[in-house]
């Protein structure tokens, strides 16, 4: 019983690392640009397909293709910010919500047309590898994904707190007008924020590829998790999103283990609704509200 519990917690934490990359991206865009990116999951999907094609055509290991998927998605992020998001800033809820929502629909269905609904997987030497500490098993691919995800989150933290551009971003998140008065160029800051957020989604995609199938709708799983984690972790709060994502991973895993295989999502949604009922502002304070 205790071993099962520990196993469920470990599995949850490991996948929670991936959720964290997605939800940090969502919360970063929300904090800086004040837009909820409904298409964040589709950028995970794009990252997965990039890694899949690099692996199947050139034999590049998915973990290595991180170095390709992240810059590509950063660039896509800059384009999305410049041609789409920038044009609806300050226009009210409807255009802001439905623009990225439409983008999400578009990317999903274009992927469906281009790649069909088939599941694509990549077999790596470490895909099936496990080791155990006591009775608890660790899947190597998931552990690597978790470690890299935490490293990337740490790098983002250093970037936001240690570089001028990062500080400018946090300033723009706290108070856009004052930040602009201080000489911060909002266009540049917003482009970098969206670019970084999408690069994180791309990283999540590449990290998933060794143990998770790519298909056009795969992003939906991750974006729903991310939204719940972002609400739970207080909107715009990056550390909050990280902790909440790990909690979500564990909650989902416990749900699957103890309630039934298809109950993971119910547990997650119930957590969301409970949070809304009890603590609508999330569990943590925010730096960007």
């Amino acid at each position: 019983m205790l071993a099962t519990l520990a196993q469920a917690v470990v599995n949850g934490l490991l996948i929670g690392g991936i959720y964290a990359l997605v939800s940090i991206g969502v919360t970063l865009i929300f904090g800086v640009v004040k837009i909820v990116n409904f298409a964040q999951g589709e950028f995970v999907m794009i990252g997965m397909y990039i890694s899949f094609f690099l692996a199947s055509s050139f034999g590049i290991d998915p973990l290595l293709s991180l170095l390709i998927s992240m810059p590509i998605l950063f660039f896509i992020g800059v384009l999305v910010q410049h041609f789409l998001i920038r044009r609806v800033l300050g226009l009210g809820d409807m255009p802001q919500i439905f623009l990225t929502f439409a983008l999400s629909l578009l990317l999903m269905n274009v992927a469906l047309l281009l790649f069909t609904a088939n599941y694509r997987t990549v077999q790596t030497p470490y895909s099936e590898l496990t080791f155990h500490i006591g009775p608890v098993y660790f899947a190597v691919a998931k552990l690597i994904a978790f470690v890299i995800a935490m490293l990337l989150s740490g790098l983002l933290y250093l970037f936001l707190h240690g570089t001028d551009l990062g500080k400018a971003m946090r300033a723009a998140a706290q108070n856009r007008e004052v930040a602009m008065l201080m000489g911060i160029n909002p266009d540049r800051v917003f482009s970098v924020a969206v670019g970084v957020a999408l690069a994180l989604a791309g990283a999540a995609g590449s990290l998933l590829m060794p143990f998770y199938p790519a298909y056009p709708l795969v992003g939906q799983v991750f974006v729903l998790m991310a939204f719940v984690a972002v609400v739970l972790g207080t909107l715009g709060n990056i550390t909050g999103a990280l902790i909440a994502s790990l909690m979500m991973g564990v909650a989902e895993s416990l749900g699957v283990q103890f309630v039934g295989a298809d109950s993971g999502l119910i547990v997650v949604f119930v957590m969301l609704l409970l949070t809304l009922a009890l603590r609508p502002n999330g569990l943590f304070g925010g730096w960007a509200r």
Binding site: V36, G92, D93, I97, F98, N109, L113, L265, V270
Partner: protein, 336 residues
């Protein structure tokens, strides 16, 4: 000659109503009739969504919750208790209203995008629950509805035209309710909430009550559509009844047509369903993804270039046309 929509709306509405009424007599092709029924049904769902999403700007992406509750309530009453869907449709509406109270209490704590996300979650939770209810709601396999032949009292008909008229009746009901609300105090309160909730609250609008009331009405109407839909296709399962596509299409038709306008959802549905029918005839129905790809492109275009919806485009054109007409009409006597 110089009449325009603003000065003589009833004339045009009468023309429209007459056309709608005789359409099934003129068109007997079942495929075409099916498209008309879909147009009426989705326009009706759009109208129901628009009351809340358009006027009060509470952008729900979870109206499938009420569509599904309506569908399941009437089907359970029909199959388990032999109760006519005519009663079931009202019961479904009442169940949806009751469900909207706790759902609203939770979701209205959030605003904007996070309200939308919370509504998605509620619809998903309901779908997941109905997947689990094997004993009285048939679980994931769903069930077919008993075919009783031509049984008008049980909402089953041999001819498609009958379904057409029911859908037309539903749409008329939705439009009438919207029209009445638009002209009442409630309409003004809704627009005030939609424009700026804090400001509305500050000048004494009970925003919580207004939002709750419009959610009740919107949920009720959406549930009617749910019952009608399963009676029309003779099948129900959680993925059909709580389909995310229903939530999306309800919002989509309203936004493309014109959010917060009486006729917006109707215009939007006609445009989108016409596009969809054209695409099907060009590409066949085998290409999954074509329709939604085009829908999302239309949506992005509308949001970037015409966020008030396409209905404004048509009334602009109409105005220009009517003005051109009146100018010429005045010139004629001078020339002659």
């Amino acid at each position: 000659m110089t009449s325009n929509f603003k000065t003589r709306p009833w004339f045009w509405i009468a023309v429209l109503a007459a056309t709608a009424l005789v359409l099934p007599l003129a068109v007997s092709d079942p495929f075409a009739l099916d498209i008309f029924i879909r147009v009426l049904l989705f326009a009706f769902i759009g109208v129901a969504w628009n009351l809340m999403g358009g006027y009060a700007k509470q952008l729900s992406l979870g109206h499938a919750a009420y569509f599904g509750l309506g569908a399941y309530t009437s089907t359970i009453l029909l199959i388990r208790f032999g109760i006519s869907p005519w009663i079931g449709i009202l019961a479904g509406g009442v169940v949806a209203m009751l469900a909207s109270l706790p759902i609203g209490a939770l979701c209205f704590r959030l605003r904007g995008p996070y309200f939308a996300i919370a509504t998605i979650a509620t619809a998903q939770v309901l779908m997941l629950l109905f997947l689990k209810f094997r004993d009285f709601a048939w679980g994931a396999e769903g069930t077919t509805l008993p075919n009783l032949g031509d049984a008008p009292l049980m909402m089953q008909f041999e001819s498609r035209a009958a379904y057409y008229y029911i859908a037309l009746g539903l749409l008329t009901l939705g439009l009438a309710i919207t029209y009445l609300i638009e002209r009442s105090w409630m309409g003004f309160y809704l627009v005030a909430v939609g424009e700026d909730e804090d400001a509305a609250e500050a000048v004494g609008v009970d925003t919580a009550k207004i939002k709750r009331n419009i959610y009740l009405i919107s949920a009720f109407l959406t549930a009617l559509a749910g019952t009608f839909y399963v009676e029309y296709i003779y099948f129900i399962d959680p993925n059909t009844a709580f389909s995310f596509n229903v939530s999306v299409e309800a919002a989509l038709v309203s936004i493309v047509g014109g959010i917060g306008t009486l006729w917006g959802p109707v215009v939007g549905t006609i445009l989108l369903e016409a596009t969809s029918a054209l695409l099907q005839s060009w590409f066949g129905s085998g290409h999954g993804g074509v329709q939604l790809t085009v829908y999302s492109l239309i949506l992005i275009t509308v949001i970037l270039w015409r966020p008030s919806g396409l209905i404004g485009l048509f009334s602009d054109l109409y105005q220009r046309f009517a003005h051109a007409g009146s100018a010429r009409a005045k010139e004629v006597p001078l020339d002659g």
